[in-house]
């Protein structure tokens, strides 16, 4: 899982930039050309791309934490192998995206430090708990599914290194998503207890998945720099609609009920009722639904979600515990083990 959709890219465009260069830059983008790190680009574009790639990198490595906890408790050897490989993929995505960010001008160590100290953010969705194996299944189906939808559109962007990285990442996301589908299908075709576990996990993850695409669009989102400069190519609300049109009917056919929920401070559901707004509009082909609680979204972004402190504490712990390894590598005396 991963994604960068809800990073707020506020770019102050065209300020103090050479109008001729700016025109050439925008012409390139409109012609569908890819930009490379050494090409001229407005300062705001470079900063915006850095913010986006860094946020995405942070999300990949934090996203690996809740799932990593479940490796030792996977229900079969095959699931354990798959989850190990998935977590390894996510950390790898983080590595690739930190590389892209470094080329945009920020040191990797600074990025890791800023993440731990809260100066930069990661995706909101990873601040929710995964208390059962059902959550692992739902995360891989819904959140990796949402990530693919989002990242497919990011792969149509204009910044070459980011676009190439998205394509590479999406190949692996396809595995995450398919294995998630397999787990969800297994749970929902299983015993009453398994189906209940699936439903409860679904109740915890449906709304975080809808929030995954970020807050409702600002007016004229297409004309604002993130889309005009093809840092993003589809608006948040359009992505969310695509997601619901795909996943709501699938969930219903799986035997899941779509609930509007109320959660406690630990992210556990304390109240739920069927989403009364959920229906297919036959004329438009779109599903209508109850909007996520956007106050909750901003509360969690500000650091007050169920798992914010826990995730960052683990990241800090591993950064500090790994210090001697990094030092040994930097000093050049950490020889690699001989190949097996």
């Amino acid at each position: 899982m991963s994604g960068s959709a809800n990073v707020g890219v506020h770019v102050d465009h065209a300020r103090d930039e050479d109008p001729a260069k700016m025109a050439e830059f925008e012409a390139k983008i409109n012609a569908g050309e890819l930009l490379e790190p050494d090409d001229w680009m407005p300062q705001a574009y470079r900063q915006g791309m850095l913010k986006m790639a860094e946020h995405h990198a942070n999300s990949e490595i934090i996203g690996a934490l809740p799932e990593g906890e479940w490796i030792t408790r996977a229900p079969s050897l095959r699931r354990k192998l798959a989850l190990t490989a998935k977590v390894q993929d996510e950390v790898g995505h983080g590595q690739m995206l930190y590389r892209v960010s470094q080329d945009l001008g920020k040191s990797r160590d600074q990025m890791l430090r800023d993440l731990i100290t809260g100066r930069t953010k990661y995706h909101n969705v990873f601040n929710y708990p995964a208390p059962t194996w059902g959550d692992i299944a739902m995360i891989q189906w819904l959140i990796d599914g949402a990530a693919i939808m989002n990242q497919k559109t990011l792969a149509d962007g204009a910044y070459g290194p980011y676009v190439r990285t998205m394509k590479r990442i999406n190949m692996e996301e396809a595995f995450h998503f398919k294995s998630g589908e397999d787990m969800v299908l297994t749970l929902m075709s299983g015993t009453k207890m398994q189906r209940q576990m699936g439903q409860e996990a679904f109740d915890r993850w449906w709304y975080p998945a809808l929030m995954f695409f970020g807050p409702p669009d600002k007016p004229h989102a297409e004309q604002l720099p993130p889309m005009r400069w093809r840092m993003k190519t589809v608006t948040n609300d359009n992505l969310r609609r695509r997601f619901i049109n795909r996943f709501a009917p699938a969930a219903i056919d799986l035997g899941l009920k779509i609930h509007v929920v109320k959660k406690d401070d630990n992210g556990m559901v304390i109240e739920r009722k069927p989403d009364e707004n959920l229906r297919l509009d036959e004329t438009t082909g779109n599903w209508s639904f109850t909007q996520p609680d956007w106050d909750e979204f901003y509360r969690v972004i500000r650091g007050n979600g169920p798992c914010n402190a826990k995730r960052l504490a683990l990241r800090r712990f591993s950064y500090e515990q790994g210090r001697w390894v990094r030092h040994a590598i930097l000093r050049g005396n950490a020889g690699l083990p001989p190949a097996a």
């Binding site: 190949m171 929902m188 056919d253």
Partner: protein, 130 residues
Amino acid sequence: MSNVREQSHPSNGDLTSPAEGDLKPYVVFTQLNRGDPHMYAGCVDAADQQMALQFAREHYGQDQKCVNIWVVPKEAVTATNYDTDLIWRHTDQTYRLARGYSKPVKDKWRKLRRAEDLKEYEKDDLKETF
């Protein structure tokens, strides 16, 4: 025949001038379109990076569309060994590939969903990876 060639006599034995040594090999990577990955194209011998670039343009940049070239001293490339380094393990790794799941997933969906709904849903799959 020119005078010069008439005056050059066939001779045997060692050359009188000392051996000169070779130019250095450079590996060449070409990019066919902006935004594409650079691909290994071959090698050139050159005295320095600028000369290597010039030769690479001549050898690899003319016979097909090419928008960018990288040259790297061959000695800077570290590679694995075919015989001793196993990269792709030979055991079953389908658990970490999307296609390892496509059939069981399809079979399970079929029991739950109408064919046309499934088809609609699968439209958003990343086809190239399954």
